[in-house]
Amino acid sequence: MPDNKINITAVVNGTPTGVSANVNAPLKTIIAEALHETGNNGQPPDNWDVKDAAGNVLDPNTKIEDLGLTEGMTVFLTLKAGIGG
């Protein structure tokens, strides 16, 4: 595998799937693939938060390597809750 590619696990709404990521690309580049792989095609990528294991929201415009994501790590894609209350 090229040096700039890593395999990470994306847990989309609780369902895990493997995605290949370019560490020099922004995090948002993995969102569409992860949604497609898990069959979550009903909401656009902008409606999903990407979080680390602790549940902290990650900036989707930051490069993957700048977020400290490395081979084998896991991120969580969670749908933003709709307007309520």
Binding site: G42, T78, L79, A81, G82
Partner: protein, 206 residues
């Protein structure tokens, strides 16, 4: 216990339920570190307890019973409950609220908030995702994907069928929503006069 009307073959609902439980169990080690404890999962109900690791000592905060009858033609029902007795809370007895930064906040104000530039004591308008008719009633989680939300006359124009299959109303979505707005915002204890201790919530999510 009054059972709901059966409108979906229970075997279909059960299989979907078990698939969601299996997905949860695969990632469970990470969820435990967040303070999620899925204690009981027997169709059609799940009981989850939420704890926070940020207080000293770590604190068990609240429980949630999530019911998957007629899933997913119906969204799950959510009842917040005492984590030890599993008795449903009334609004007046809730140990935490679920504040959310209001949707109408101007972007520049939001940017100042996120940058920590707002003066101390500045009050942002907040929504409460827990709603009830009165303090004597059980609260309901007022977000799409929750049965009580869609059954409320106030949301009669927002059918569950408009959301079904798009990500809302799953086990993970509901647990994550409770965690994000009720638990992750906890930063410590607030000790009031006469030694009444409340959880201190500051990290209000958008």
């Amino acid at each position: 216990m009054v059972r709901a009307e059966v409108v979906v073959n229970p075997e279909i609902s059960r299989r979907k339920f078990e698939r969601e439980i299996a997905d949860y169990r695969r990632m469970e080690d990470i969820y435990i570190e967040r303070g999620w404890f899925l204690l009981k999962a027997a169709f059609p109900e799940v009981f989850v307890v939420f704890a926070t690791p940020v207080t000293a000592p770590p604190t068990v905060v609240i429980g949630a019973a999530i019911n998957f009858e007629n899933y997913d033609f119906w969204p799950p029902s959510v009842t917040l409950a005492n984590p030890f007795t599993r008795q449903p809370y009334l609004m007046k007895n809730l140990p935490v609220q679920m504040p959310r930064i209001g949707a109408g906040i101007p972007p520049d104000l939001l940017a100042q908030l996120q940058a920590g530039l707002l003066p101390p004591g500045f009050q942002l308008p907040l929504d409460n995702l827990l709603q009830s008719a009165s303090p004597e009633d059980k609260p309901f989680l007022c977000v799409p994907g929750v049965r009580e939300y869609h059954n409320s006359p106030a949301h009669s124009g927002d059918s569950w069928l408009l959301h079904r299959g798009k990500g809302e109303g799953t086990l993970h979505f509901i647990i994550e929503t409770i965690y994000k707005y009720a638990i992750k915002s906890i930063v410590g204890f607030h000790v009031q006069p006469a030694y009444k201790i409340q959880l201190l919530q500051r990290n209000i999510a958008q």
